[in-house]
């Protein structure tokens, strides 16, 4: 697990004058489940949106399998985007299409498979995330957990090398959330997909993360990185301790 698949170097993110993330560098290795942590407003989603090429970095570079996603244009950019899949926080399923059509869309656009084959592949992806039986439903008929799973199925449609998940278990009940964690572990094992996950659900982090980085709002940088259980037990940084032990300042002092 030493081959680098994503390389973020000297990366700075800013909205105008307002710097959100200041000069961070890290690597994501092939096949690992990499989690980006941090309190609310520390720039986790901002970092993710830069990694998937929605925003351009104020400084530095983000290499996906060796190609700079921020500098790529036209066909080159599309090739990079085809190697990644993104499941958005809200699901972002297209409301005018059924769940099945949502999953079929990338396959229809980018492959020359015929309609029946695409239909079957899309059904298989939905089967994989446990949505068999909901193919013909419209996204507005799905529950929160089902939307997240359908979004994951769409993100996996082209069997991308890297899957980016923005808060996959936010707002889900513990059982659904645990099921989703299991699904991620299974997919990682059987498909060899690299996962980059933004979350602050502690249980999910312990369950799935091979490695985490923790962003900090005040220093605007990475405050800790490594195995989450090791960080929980050994980190001496107060913010990291508070985060992992779900404590406030008072609790920590006493």
């Amino acid at each position: 697990m030493s081959e680098t698949i994503i390389n973020v170097k000297d990366f700075t993110a800013a909205y105008g004058e307002n710097v959100i993330i200041d000069n961070i560098t890290f690597d994501v290795y092939k096949g690992e489940k990499f989690v980006i942590l941090g309190g609310s407003g520390c720039g986790k989603t901002t970092l993710l949106k830069h990694m998937i090429g929605l925003y351009r970095p104020a400084n530095g570079s983000i290499l996906i399998e060796g190609d700079d996603i921020a500098k790529a244009e036209g066909q080159e950019r599309i090739e990079i985007l085809k190697s990644i899949g993104v499941a958005y926080q809200s699901g972002a399923l297209f409301g005018s299409m059924t769940v099945l059509e949502n999953v079929m869309l990338p396959l229809e656009e980018y492959t020359d498979l015929n309609k029946d084959s695409i239909d079957l592949i899309a059904r298989m992806k939905l089967n994989l995330v446990g949505l068999t039986g909901s193919e013909e439903k419209s996204p507005s008929e799905l529950s929160g957990g089902m939307i997240k799973r359908a979004a994951l199925a769409r993100a996996m449609a082209l069997d991308p090398d890297i899957l980016f998940l923005d808060e996959p278990s936010a707002g889900l009940d513990p059982i659904t959330s645990a099921e989703l964690d299991q699904l991620i572990i299974q997919l990682s094992k059987s498909l060899g997909v690299t996962f980059v996950i933004v979350t602050h659900e502690l249980n999910s982090i312990y369950n799935i993360a091979d490695r985490v980085i923790m962003l900090d709002k005040d220093t605007k940088g990475i405050i800790a990185s490594g195995d989450p259980k090791y960080l929980r037990d050994n980190s001496e940084i107060p913010i990291v301790q508070k985060f992992f032990k779900r404590q406030t300042d008072e609790q920590l002092d006493s």
Partner: protein, 382 residues
């Protein structure tokens, strides 16, 4: 497992027909979403033409296979089993086999059949449409009642009205619309004057273009043209605003705070509309007549002659009867827009649908009300 990109070379297929009616498909190379199409089609074709009693899939030389490849195998398996033959896979690597085991072909087979949809008869359709129309009417009556009650309550307690919203809406609804109202009415006035000047010339009655224009404008064109433009601008905006609030659950939030959205959101808009639409109509009338002035100039009349003819033809009754109607138009624009927004459904097209509905229903209702006023004014002799 190495992951090839979409640029990998396509896999190859070798079909061998063995004795006792067995078809062996030998696949070499990488199977992913970009490369599998050809092999898939050819395999199905081979299966169709040979109709073997046994199908053997030889995967010993597959170097990479993702879920697209698995879908391909599953598809072959389903087809073969449907035609009553047997199916066997040989030589898949452990990794691919594990992936294959994730799916149950039985489950995928069943999903192909969607539940039968019930088709309704003509009588059922008529019944459904009737019930829907009745419900629609009820909703509109209830909403009209709610707005009326809220308006009366607001009049009794003017300090409770959200005046800030009234002023903001007045600016957007009224002041910002002035330019487009002026332009549209000026052009319509100009066109009407010009078109009527041509036949009038035959009778040497060109001076009466002024009479025609001022009567038409004060009584009908000014109020209607202005209301239509404002309906397109602001009625749709109200619907979009409230529709977005509905989609974002903001209306539910108001509801759970015990706040009725009607006095909170609708009343300020109705008040602003009722204040601004008559004022806009006055400007609309003025610019319509200015359009006529341009034509009259071109026909050789002076400004004074035109003005003189206008004052002879026009009465305060005409002007006020036209302006009185705009009060009703204003309530329609704001009310219909807000109602369409509040009733927006879920989903991305909901807000667009609400805006469309607001404009269409608004126009129809305004013409209807205008017709009623026409009859009433005729009877009253206004």
């Amino acid at each position: 497992m190495t992951k090839p990109h979409s640029t990998t070379s396509p896999p190859s297929l070798e079909t061998v027909i063995e004795d006792n009616n067995t078809l062996r498909l030998k696949i070499k190379g990488s199977l992913n979403a970009y490369t599998t199409a050809k092999v898939w089609e050819n395999s199905l074709l081979a299966l169709k033409t040979t109709k073997p009693s046994q199908l053997i899939l030889d995967g010993s030389e597959i170097d990479y296979c993702d879920t697209t490849g698995i879908a391909f195998f599953t598809n072959l398996q389903i087809r073969q089993e449907q035609s009553g033959g047997t199916y066997k896979v040989e030589g898949l690597s452990d990794e691919i086999n594990k992936l294959y085991k994730l799916f149950d072909p039985e489950e995928l087979k069943q999903t192909g059949e969607s539940d039968s949809t019930h088709t309704e008869s003509k009588i059922e359709t008529a019944g459904r449409l009737g019930v829907e129309a009745w419900e629609e009417l009820q909703i509109n009556i209830i909403f009209t009642g709610r707005v009326t009650v809220a308006l009366f309550k607001a009049m009794l307690r003017p300090d409770k009205i959200r005046w800030r919203d009234v002023f903001i809406t007045s600016e957007k609804f009224g002041a910002n619309a002035l330019f487009i109202i002026a332009l549209v009415n000026f052009l319509v006035g100009l066109v009407i004057a010009f078109q009527s000047a041509v036949p009038m010339k035959q009778y040497g009655a060109q001076i009466f273009v002024a009479d025609l224009l001022v009567i038409a404008y004060f009584k009908e064109l000014g109020p209607l043209m202005t209301a239509f433009v404002v309906n397109g601008r602001s009625g749709s905006a109200f619907a979009a605003e409230l529709g977005t609030m509905k989609v974002n659950e903001e209306l539910d939030a108001l509801d759970t705070m015990g706040l009725d959205p009607v006095p909170f959101l609708v009343v300020p808009k109705v008040i602003a509309s009722v204040i601004m639409l008559p004022i806009l109509t006055v400007f609309g009338n003025l610019f319509g007549l200015l359009g006529g002035l341009v034509v009259m100039f071109s026909l050789g009349f002076t400004f004074n002659t035109y003005l003189n003819q206008l004052t002879i033809a026009a009465t305060y009754g005409m002007l006020l009867s036209g302006l009185f109607k705009t009060l009703f138009f204003a309530v329609i624009i704001a009310g219909v827009g807000c109602l369409a927004g509040m009733r927006a459904a879920k989903g991305p097209s909901a807000v667009g649908d609400a805006a469309t509905k607001a404009v269409v229903v608004g126009i129809v209702l305004m013409i209807l009300v205008d017709g009623i006023f026409g009859v009433v004014y005729y009877i009253l002799g206004v």
